[in-house]
Every structure is written in C-alpha cells, then in structure tokens.
Symmetry: C2
Subunit: 352 residues, 2 copies
C-alpha cells in the first residue's frame, strides 16, 4: 500500500469546538442572524481548518497542473495539442486570464509540468515534474502505468505539503491540458456510473457532431477498461491524466496537512471524486469555486453536497473560477475579522 | 412634469459599436470563445457605458440610503426602529459589514440620511438630506406626500450626477431602514400585480406567524391605496420609502449621466422596478449584484432579464451584495485589460 494512501486515511475531521466558535462570532456581529448565507458556512469551515480566532488567507498560492493526453489523437478537442505547451508559456509570461486574476489577488501562480509535450527552460514560476510527455491513448492501453500514476499523484501531494510548510494559507487547484475534459468525463462516468452523455459537455466549444464523437470515444474507453471501473484509483489511472492524478494528490495532501483548498470547475471535480472515494473527509477542506457551464457539473456538485461559491456559466479552467472564488473568500474573511459585534457597536438586538 | 422625469427620458441606448469592439477583444484573448460566460456580457456593457478601449473602475463609491418607515409601528420587523439610526452610526464608525467589504475594495462609503429618526453630527461620510424623520404610516395615508417623494428622488438623482462629476467610475446602491422589506414588497406587489405572499419574505428573519401578519399589513396597504397602483410613480410615493425613492432617482441619474451602477438585492429591486417603468433604457446601466434569499427576488430578476452576478443566499442589504459584486467586476476588468491575445502570445487558435 502506498504511503500517500495510508496518510490519506489520517485526514482529521474538522474541530467542532472551532466550528461553534465561528458560528457564535457570526451570530453576534451587527447583522441579522444568518444573513450572509453561504458565506457563513464557508467561514465556519475555514475557521475550523485554521483553528484561529482570526483566520488569515493573505498568502495564497495557485497551482496549475499541465499535461497532455494521448486521447487527443482521437480528435476530441477543438484545439491542437500544442496549445497546452503554448498556454504554459503564456502562464509563465503572465499573459493568461489566470495571471490577471492572480495579480488582483496578490496570489502566487505556480505552473506544474506533470506531462506536457515539449520542454521548458528554467523559470521560477514553473515546477518541472514531468512524468512523461503526454499520457498514453486510453483506447489502446491505460492512460498511465501504475508507476506513472503514483508519481503524478505524489507530485501533487508533495506540492500541497510544501505549500503548507511555506506558510501558504489558502491553496487553489486548476489545470491546463488539451483533451482533458474527455479524460475528466471518462473518470466521472466510471466512478459515478452515470451515462456518458449526461457527464460529457462541449469542452472548449464543440458542435453537436463533434460532441457525439467525443461521447463515443469515452464509451469505447470505458469498455476497453471495464475491469478498472470498480476502483476509483484504477479508474483514475486508466482513464485520467497526469494533472488529474496530481490534483487528487494535492487535495489529499492539503487536507492531511490542514490546509484549505479552493477547487476550480469540471475537470478538477473528477479529481475530487477520486479523492473523496479514498477518504470522504477530504471534502471538509475543499471550497468549490463555481458551477461551470460544462454539462453534468451541477449533478456532480450535488453529489458532493457542495455549495459552489459562483455560478457564472464559465468553462475556462486554468484555476480561473478558483481565483474569482478566492476573492470572495478574501472578502468573507475580512468581514469575519473586522465587523463589530452588537455590544461593541451599541446596536440593539432583536425585539424580545 | 418634473425635470428629472424629462431628463430620464433622455437616457441613451448603449453604443452598439462599442459593444462590438468589446466582443471582438474578448474573442481574440487567449481563451476558448465565450468561456468567461456571464463576465463577458458584463464587460460588453461596461465598455459600452464607459466608451473606453480599457475600461476603469478603480474609483468606486457606495451610497447607502437610510430612512425610517411609518409602517414599522405595525410590528412588521424583528428589530426596533432605533436600529436604523444605530446602524448608520455603525457605518460611520466603520464597524458594519459594508465597511469591511468596502475597505477590501478601496471603495468610498457615503451614508445618506434621507429620513432617519434622530439627528446626526457632522461627518464627512454622512450626507445630510433628511426629508422627514420617517415616512408616514401607509395604512393611514400615503407614505410620502408628492413633495416629499420628489425631494427624496431628486436627492438620489443629484448624488448620482455628483458622483459622475467627481470622477467615480462605478457606483453601488444599497439601503438601511427597519421595516423597508415591507415597503419594498408593497411596491413590488403593486407594480407587478403579483400576489402579495409571492413577493413577501422573512426580512431580517421573521417566523411564520409574523410573516403572515406582514403579508396582511401589505394587503391592507394595497387596498388603502388602490387608486395609486396603476402608476409606478404613485405606487412608490404611497407605498415606498425615502430610500427607495432616492435609489430610483440615483439609478436614473446615473444612467442619464453615463455611469454604471451596481444594485444590491431585494429592496433595491423595488426601486429598479419603478425606474424601469419610467424608462426601461435604465436597465442597460445596471449590474444586478446578487439573487438574495428574500422570497420573490428570483422572479423579479427574471422580469428584468437580469443575470445576477452572485447567488449566495444573502439577505443583509446595506449594499453588501453590491460590494461583493464590485469585486467580481474588478477582476473582470483586469482580465479584459490585461490578458494577451492569441497573436500576442503566439498561441494557435482552433483547428480549422
């Protein structure tokens, strides 16, 4: 048994005393009780994760895991595979959407090459952790060997633990990889047993014919690996991608080390699904950034009993939804830490 | 005919050439087309309002209109009327939720006393514009006389125009006033002809019995003023409040002077409803911050064909939802202004 698997079993339940403390502070601040809705539930968890009277998320890190996919050869994406590498360079040059959002948050961006076609030079914002240039074509063989999968997952785990050691107070996870909505849908269909067409969307913008083709490719892949579907870890190894495995590792590692994680949209939810099958306790540490436009995401979020922070019909990836949600969390933390109580402000409470 | 009414008719339609320019820039930035969902539609309008290649919303002002309500005597709120004044003092001392949110945005907060019980000293953050200490009890007589209503509306109009002259780039409107969900529901029921119970919610947290009482009070008020319901301006005057009238004036004035406005939740939507009946063109200038928890808000937002930016089950008021939405708009503007195009970044577009 792998050590990350053993460690994953040790993720701690959130401290009920800290949750109660947070609820009490929210109750006595100068507002009608419960009037901040979802924000109050987010704050309650954040306080219980950090175990602090005044939670802090000033130090934020965004990890973008990038990898290519063997299944791209089947023509499942509108964009050619070399866009993965080009977008990584765009991230490093600060030209992408996530860079603009991260600047607004004063958050660090780290791009992790876990399996991109082509090489990169040295760059302080790039973490070289390539397992292999692209996964294998899952129509022919498992997307990853057991060793490759383990290496990718461990990369994510280690980066989450390193973030905690660096003093990061809130982590965000996102991804870049041409064809990875196909891998994500395959993993989700495998683990949830949902019909493929109910969890397969247009990705970067497929038309109806190309979408039908993508669904057929996923169905073929599920047939090819029918012996892997029972076990979420095998499903992730056979049908997933390096970035998906790494994000599963990162969320488990973050939860194990007591660090809150904002998860992006559709593709990351495949990683969440695998992680929660390994230990459902991980969900307490996850903040679901948004309900994306991708078909099936709402259904999956309901399975997690998640309250997504945003619902803006986005379908971009690269942690863009997570970054926007981090801004909402920043605002919520400020409210929690700064708003006066009824007694401090001399405001009357409710009528008796 | 009042001059603000004449001026309201002159609100300009958004420039189609600027809208097209915005769509084109969004299309060529390094992202799949349309992948920012709702944010793209917000940006398109903001660019067309500002008529700038690079829109700016660094200078933000939040106006909180505060007033008391004669109808509070009927026991429609959980909180006593003196909470309105106490909360205004809390705003001025920086201790309320909106203050914490505004600090995070570096936005100005201005509290406008349009009708609070009790007096306030001089304070640079307080605008003295009291029409009268509280509206009249609408069960007995119109909430405002025609002159009072006109004065309140004009106050809002003038403050919006002054904001534009001061160089404010984005305005937010919110309110504080014990019992004002009752006034808002009455105005909304009158203008939309919806059944009272479908547009009356728990306000600051009423139980079922108190809610039934609130509904009966509103129904009585509608009967008392049955001759006023046809005309949205009369409905606002007879059933509304000073802060509701002022916000209607502020959104019309902002639209007339070409300034975008973020509108908060349920109560502000009563003001929007009156404004759009005066000139539906005003809607192009409004950004709907959030769908609140208050019953009926979703229905009202659909009537506006609004896409609310957030949906966090909030029901606080005091422009808190508007402030959170301003943060999302800040992020969107940064993306619009900073993200590289495909050609700048050397990223391939779609497959042919």
């Amino acid at each position: 048994m792998q050590d990350w698997l053993l460690e994953s079993k040790k993720i701690q339940a959130l401290d009920t005393a800290w949750r109660a403390k947070a609820r009490e502070r929210l109750r006595v601040q100068t507002r009608p009780e419960g009037s901040l809705g979802v924000l109050e539930r987010l704050l309650e968890r954040l306080v219980a994760i950090q175990k602090k009277d005044r939670p802090q998320i000033a130090r934020k890190r965004i990890l973008i895991f990038a990898a290519d996919h063997g299944i791209a050869a089947e023509g499942v994406s509108l964009y050619p595979s070399d866009v993965t590498r080009a977008m990584v360079l765009n991230f490093l040059n600060g030209g992408a959407t996530i860079n603009a959002l991260a600047r607004g948050l004063a958050a660090e961006v780290r791009v992790v090459d876990v399996g991109v076609h082509g090489d990169f030079g040295a760059d302080p914002r790039l973490i070289h952790a390539k397992v292999r240039a692209s996964t294998r074509n899952m129509l022919d063989e498992p997307a990853m060997t057991v060793q490759e999968f383990d290496q990718a997952l461990r990369t994510g785990w280690d980066l989450a633990c390193a973030a905690r050691e660096d003093g990061v107070e809130l982590l965000a996870l996102g991804e870049m990889g041409i064809a990875n909505t196909t891998a994500a849908s395959a993993v989700i269909a495998a683990i949830t047993r949902a019909p493929v067409e109910s969890v397969t969307g247009r990705g970067t913008g497929l038309g109806p014919e190309a979408l039908a083709h993508k669904i057929r490719v996923i169905e073929k892949a599920l047939q090819r690996h029918s012996d892997c579907l029972e076990d979420p870890i095998k499903a992730l190894q056979c049908l997933g991608g390096f970035e998906l495995a790494a994000m599963t590792g990162a969320m488990l590692g973050a939860a194990r080390s007591g660090l809150g994680v904002v998860v992006d949209g559709w593709i990351v939810s495949a990683s969440v699904l695998a992680a929660m099958r390994i230990n459902p306790q991980v969900l307490d540490y996850l903040f679901f950034a948004h309900q994306s436009e991708e078909k099936g995401h709402r259904f999956i979020l309901q399975a997690f009993e998640a309250e997504p922070i945003l619902n803006l019909s986005m379908r971009l990836g690269e942690a863009s939804g997570a970054a926007l949600a981090m801004g909402i969390l920043d605002a919520a933390v400020r409210v929690y830490n700064e708003v006066a109580t009824f007694s401090e402000a001399g405001v009357s409470g409710r009528n008796a």
